[in-house]
């Protein structure tokens, strides 16, 4: 029968390993978090040109959309609109709207830029900033890419049957939430 001392030493050993792991991970996070933020911002700028074309530039319209509540439909997922942007073209004319949004379901997190035309505020396309879904590549290849390439995007958006249907439903709801916000903008 192992002694009390043995159990104490075993617990301390495991505790020390766990603490050392936590310190290592914390230190790595400190080192990499700023770089990850820069990468996300770069991806954001690439995303704006991808959705709106070369020369498009986004300027902040509303920095925090934390208080926005979805009212037009009920979503089973956790969706947050983060910020909204006016997108201007090379001639400095307003081109459209971009909403930065994040959604989560049981398969993981997705962050998107959702683009809309200026007037009428029709859905223009999406760009993936980060995709932590389990079926990440399937979601992109079977839902997002065909959606961006479709003529009638509003109809195509509702066709969520693909190898990553749950992720597609999340993406669809994120687009609908962004649309609801954009339709409510009273811009003169």
């Amino acid at each position: 029968m192992p002694s009390k001392k043995h159990y104490i030493i075993t617990s301390i050993t495991l505790g020390c390993i766990a603490m050392a792991s936590a310190i290592l991970i914390g230190a790595t996070n400190l080192l990499t978090a700023p770089r990850i933020k820069v990468n996300e911002d770069n991806r954001f700028n690439v995303g704006i040109t991808s959705v709106f074309g070369d020369g498009a530039e986004a300027t902040i319209y509303e920095e925090s959309l934390k208080d926005f509540k979805i009212q037009g439909f009920k979503s089973d997922f956790n969706i947050e609109l983060e910020s909204s942007y006016e997108v201007k073209n090379e001639e400095n004319n307003i081109h459209g709207w971009a909403i930065r949004t994040t959604g989560r379901n049981d398969y993981g997190k997705v962050s998107l830029i959702v683009g809309f035309d200026y007037e009428p505020r029709s859905f223009k396309g999406i760009y993936v900033i980060s995709n932590e879904q389990t079926y990440a590549s399937t979601l992109v290849e079977e839902y997002i890419d065909p959606l961006n390439g479709a003529e009638d995007k509003e109809t195509k958006m509702e066709d969520v049957s693909c190898g990553a249907t749950y992720g597609a439903k999340l993406t669809r709801d994120m687009i609908k939430a962004a649309k609801e916000y954009v339709d409510g903008i009273d811009y003169k």
Binding site: T13, L14, I17, S21, I25, T28, N39, A136
Partner: protein, 243 residues
Amino acid sequence: MAKEKGYTKKNFLKGIIIENPLLVSILGTCPALATTKTVEAAIGMSILFTIVLVCSSILVSLLRKVISEEIRTPAYIVIIATFVTIVKMMTNAFLPELYSTLGVFISLIVVNCIVLGRAEAYASKNGVFDSFIDALGMGVGYALALILMAFFREIIGAGSLSIGKVFTFIPQYTLQILPKGYAIKLFQDPPGAFIVFAIILAVIAFIKNRKAELKSNRERQARIKQEQEARAAAIKQQEGGNK
């Protein structure tokens, strides 16, 4: 106990050929099937996997006398998970395209049997240097197997080989191998991965069986020759005795 000569070289090479973790032990097949759509993704996965395997083997070996029997498995899992988390954060920061290509399969390195298996089977019983060499050999063996699978899948499935899409610091280049329209997209999907894996295993089994057959033929012929010589010697002796 003194090690035999050439032990380090044998220790390293066994992970590549004799005990290749994917092609001989059939371990770690999930990421092998999922991340071998392109050669670049396979190379990326191999590098991350090897880093985790080597670091965790070294640390497990360093702590082998401190970690008691009761907490062996949870301790190893914590160590492996730590390195996987570090590698994941570093990849997200410095190789974001690789991070988004590999996705959840970076995190799944934690539950890759090869990493925990080598920790239990080797690193927990051997010194740091030997554990390092063993892990490196296993990592290189796994990498070669992944790249072999990805090579065939990308050529047959996409008709081309491309670089620079995942490792964006390399200029993008695509080498068209098959004429456009001749690629079989099935090989980029999971069924194609299974087919390529099965064919590679079948070829390896054929080569192994052939080698074993040739070896047994050689041994049989050597035995027959020996018996004939012994018989001839016995007859000669008998004739000499009769005279």
